[in-house]
């Protein structure tokens, strides 16, 4: 069965410093992986997706993620945090059967000035 594990429930960074949100996945075959973000009182928004093309995936707002099969990881990074990046981030894998997306528990990113 597919699953994702977000290794940190909360990450705090200072504005201008790098962001790293960690995600490990479990899959019996080549997975489709996504990162979604939810800002307060907003819907979930797709940041980026990996579907077996390039292993380094670039998303919106300067975020990127690297698919590492050997480490079963799909960590989300950004070189320089901005105050507007403060939100909850979800690592997501598409289920093997059907079309359900399987979400991690989420990581709340706090950005201080």
């Amino acid at each position: 069965a597919q699953s994702v594990t977000q290794l940190d429930s909360h990450v705090s960074v200072s504005e201008g410093t790098p962001v790293l949100l960690r995600c490990n996945y479990s899959s019996s075959y080549s997975p489709s992986l996504f990162w979604y973000v939810q800002h307060p009182n907003k819907g979930l928004q797709l940041l980026l997706k990996y579907t077996s093309a390039a292993t380094l995936v670039k998303g919106i707002n300067g975020f990127e993620a690297e698919f590492k099969k050997s480490e079963t990881s799909f960590h989300l990074t950004k070189p320089s945090a901005h105050m507007s990046d403060a939100a909850e981030y979800f690592c997501v894998v598409k289920g093997q059967a059907g079309t359900a997306l399987i979400f991690g528990k989420g990581t709340t990113l706090s950005v201080s000035s």
């Binding site: 489709s32 009182n41 819907g43 979930l44 059907g98 079309t99 359900a100 997306l101 979400f103």
Partner: protein, 116 residues
């Protein structure tokens, strides 16, 4: 272009009552999904419509939940009778194509349900 719209944004009901949540997908999106996040837990899949047909309802927790999508446009999710454990945020999403084949899901802001 309007996004996915959900109504109500917040509903407070007593145990045993009935609540109906509504979702209006993005116009032209055949795929409509319901997800739920119970407090402190992951967001979990409930079901998937393709037009008016239920493609996958494997995530529906029990028969107190009834989802419909008459005419393949908006969808409703009814909880009857509501129990305390039904409290959470119910998300609706729509897409033109299915995920994994390039389809991006567009989510609404969610309907928060509180059962007292």
């Amino acid at each position: 272009e309007a996004g996915v719209t959900q109504f109500p944004s917040h509903s407070v009901i007593e145990k045993g009552q009935t609540v109906t949540l509504r979702c209006d997908p993005i116009s032209g999106h055949d795929n409509l999904y319901w997800y739920r996040r119970v407090m402190g837990k992951e967001i979990k899949f409930l079901l998937h419509f393709v037009k008016e047909s239920k493609q996958d309802e494997s995530g529906m927790p029990n028969n107190r939940f009834l989802a419909e999508r008459t005419g393949g446009t908006y969808s409703t999710l009814k909880v009857q009778p509501a129990e305390l454990e039904d409290s959470g945020v119910y998300f609706c999403a729509s897409s033109q194509d299915q995920p994994g084949v390039g389809g991006e899901l567009f989510f609404g802001e969610g309907s928060r349900l509180t059962v007292l």
